[in-house]
Amino acid sequence: MTAFLIRRIAFAFVTLFSVLTLVFVIVRILPGDPAQLILGDQASREAIEAMHVRLGLDQPILLQYASFLGNALRGDWGVSMMTGQPVLAEVLNVLPWTIELTLVSLALGIAIGVPLGVWAAVRRNRLADYIVRIASLAGLSFPAFVSAIILLFLFAIELRWFPVISAHKGSLQAWTQSITLPAISLGLNSAAYITRVTRSAMLEVLSEDYVRTARAKGVPQRIVVWRHALRNALIPIITVAGLYLSTLIGNSVLTEIVFSRPGLGKLIVGALNQRDYTMLEGMMVIYTLAVVVVNLLSDLAYGLVDPRVKLA
């Protein structure tokens, strides 16, 4: 277990270093000048060059890279070129919003997806199965921003149950107001995904010998399905849910925009539009870390649900 963890952490460092280097190179290859974007279209070339000096963009590229890596190693992510605020502070400001949305929508996805997937698998090739399959396919194909607008129109404009601007905090009421529609919008998509994975994992397990044996022994159907079969089908579901968690963080950008919520997605899109190099680099570290950590947690979770898995 310890050796496994050490190996994974070392691997994570290599991944981080590669990503940092790639990001550094890519953002500088992109056409577009942060100084021009800060100063606007009436700024003269002289003013833009003065801004380059202030931002350190007049330094040779290798020097910029060395200083960037040095700062990253010290945990100093610098300040945003656009706002002048520390990158870490900007990220931490919006991170709770993204984590909250991602976790609630994933929980919603699991709560809907796993039972539906099991239900469909047990009723394979019957009407219920067809309905679930079609519904999950529709859920997957439906863009999140379209479902978001429909939800807003229905629940915020027609029924007036929720506000359009879903970014309120402070009390349980405000929080509920803030999270419900965005979580449904994002959660329906993950529910569709998880339903399909659960169904196919369950179908495989349900045809195993030990399931047939359990049934032959007269174990009630409910116990066979939920205790014996589902437990063994959980590994692929956890893998997919884990991987999907990192996708959700990226997918949340559209949900954040439509529901006017703060979040990492909006921050990274803004940084990209404004060519905010320091912010982009800081954000990529966060994303890489998130994917690495989620993968690590998924691996650890295998051991918990399946004693046959040895982490070594």
Binding site: L30, P31, G32, D33, Q36, L37, I38, L39, G40, D41, Q42, A43, S44, R45, E46, A47, A50, M82, T83, G84, Q85, E90, N93, V94, A111, I112, P115, L116, I149, L152, F153, F155, A156, I157, R160, W161, F162, P163, V164, I165, H168, L172, Q173, A174, T176, Q177, T180, I184, E256, I257, V258, S260, R261, P262, K266, V269, G270, N273, Q274, R275
Partner: protein, 515 residues
């Protein structure tokens, strides 16, 4: 499962019921951007930032609220002013007792002098070019400011008005906060900066000590909502009182149908121009440029863009500016003449012309319409779409022989002519701004008009400059896009709104809700 889901939704809805409504004393504005930029008036260059900062800052003078014409200039922080006959020495008498926000003390001539110097400094200002003619700005006493110019400047008062570099900052606050000033701007205006929540809003509170009287509103919530649809829905649900519209005609038509709503296409119009690089083949041939000018049908473009939100261009300078030739000799639509000219220039089978263009929706729809018009005469416009930041970078590197640009400037012809048509502003040069066409045919007139004290002669020089530029086809002006806004009709702005140089409706001490 569906029952549980449904029940959760109902519980959530019940918990959420009775959510906060905008109070009568709070004005909630929905702006079309994801977040605030640099909230420093000497740096801010975007519509969202300029729109907000106008509520916090004053100029020495101001355009009457709701107006954009320099003819409406009236006192702001300066009660009165005088200048010598040559227009090179200006003395401003600063209003006494004006307080900077949050206890930063009285605004004096020293603050005004500091502010002018800050706006003229390329290290602290995006607008340093505008102030390059200033020789000195010094306080003569606590309430008297003297500005000396190296040469007379056309429409000088506009540069010290409440827009861009003319916004007055408080010296103590700006020095004390340094770079932090752009996240906590301190001015003297009717509203004071109170709170910023990233990607959500900026909250301003009333400046009870405002020199024109305490504002009738208590608060302005300036919300950042980048999605046009979400902004519209939040406006419909009553969460927003005023919104920045989606910049197209269908939005105007749709929003006008809502009850209790006012919609306005306001000034200034952003002039859409096709700049042709006169130094590269095949555009270095005047006949090719003329052919392109003859092939563009301004009337159809305006019909396509929507007559309620756009209008035909009148000259290479937007209409209504001091010095615009409102009846300039623009090329008429004449496709037959265009074909004839192309044949004469050696392109009987037509020719390709490349343009690098932004993906901004409003601008993209126009270039596609222009492409269709040009195709009729045999000009194949090869549109290379790139995202906005890339577009800005590449057109400044001369990578696009034809540049479509849309801009409004301070409404004096000199600003537009200098930035877009003076050879000193050619992209790639040290003083470069936005002369994409490498135009140099009217330098003499533009520069002479800039220092001409006689206003009649000055207008004559500007007229000649515009004629020369049109004749040389450095730029083909096509249409002007107005600024679209909507607000609830129970909001009384307190003035008649025709336009705003800060691109958002002003909110003054008199703005209030009727019920």
């Amino acid at each position: 499962m569906m029952k549980i889901f449904g029940a959760t939704l109902v519980v959530a809805a019940l918990l959420a019921a009775g959510g906060a409504q905008a109070q009568k004393k709070t004005l909630v504005i929905g702006m079309g951007s994801a977040d605030a930029g640099k909230l420093d008036p000497h740096v801010a260059s975007t519509t969202p930032d300029k729109g907000l900062l106008q509520y916090i800052f004053n100029g020495l003078v101001r355009m009457k609220p709701g107006q954009i014409s320099p003819d409406t200039i009236e006192p702001d922080l300066a009660e009165s002013w005088t200048s010598n006959p040559a227009g090179t020495e200006w003395t401003f008498h600063i209003r006494q007792g004006v307080q900077c926000h949050w206890g930063y003390g009285e605004f004096t001539a020293e603050d005004a002098a500091y502010s002018i110097k800050r706006a003229a400094n390329k290290n602290t200002s995006s607008y340093s070019n505008d102030f390059s003619s200033i020789a000195s700005a010094d306080p003569l006493d606590r309430y008297t400011l003297k500005i000396t110019l190296k040469n007379p400047v056309a429409g000088f008062l506009g540069y010290v008005a409440n827009i861009n570099g003319g916004n007055m900052v408080c010296k103590k606050a700006a020095e004390e906060m340094g770079d932090g000033f752009s996240k906590k701007p301190i001015g003297t205006g009717p509203f004071m900066f109170a709170e910023y929540q990233p990607q959500q809003y900026v909250r301003l509170v009333a400046n009870k000590q405002y020199f024109r009287g305490a504002p009738m509103l208590d608060e302005i919530m300036y919300r950042y909502i980048p999605s046009d649809s979400s902004r519209d829905l939040a406006f419909q649900s009553g969460e927003l009182d005023m919104i920045y519209g989606k910049q197209d005609q269908s939005w105007v038509d749709r929003t006008k149908q809502l009850e209790g709503v006012k919609v306005l296409a306001m000034e200034p119009g952003e002039l859409s121009t096709l700049f042709l690089n006169i130094t590269v083949k095949p555009l270095d041939d005047i006949r090719v440029r003329e052919a392109i000018a003859y092939a563009i049908d301004r009337k159809s473009i305006v019909a396509f863009k929507g007559a309620g939100s756009s209008r035909e261009a009148v000259s290479v300078v937007p209409s209504g500016y001091l010095g615009t030739d409102e009846h300039a000799p623009l090329f008429p639509y004449d496709p037959a003449k265009a074909k004839e000219l192309l044949t004469e220039a050696g392109y009987p089978d037509g020719l390709p012309v490349k343009t690098i263009h932004t993906t901004l929706t409003g601008m993209e729809t126009f270039i596609e319409a222009a492409q269709a018009q040009l195709k009729k005469v045999g000009v194949n416009l090869d549109i290379q779409l790139v995202e906005h930041a890339t577009y800005h970078a590449q057109i400044r590197k001369d990578m696009s022989p034809l540049v479509h640009y849309q801009a409004a400037r301070f409404p004096v012809a000199d600003v537009y002519l200098t930035q877009f048509y003076d050879s000193a502003s050619i992209v790639g040069t040290p003083k470069a701004v936005t002369n994409f066409s490498h135009c140099n045919v009217a330098d003499d007139e533009i520069r002479a008009a800039r220092v001409e004290p006689d206003s009649v002669k000055q207008k004559e020089l500007w007229k000649t400059a515009q004629e020369k530029i049109i004749k040389a086809v450095c730029g083909i002006p096509v249409y002007e896009q107005l600024q679209l806004w909507a607000w609830k009709d129970n909001l009384d702005l307190g003035y008649e709104l025709k336009g705003s140089l800060n691109l958002a409706p002003p909110v003054t001490e008199k703005t209030h809700f009727l019920n």
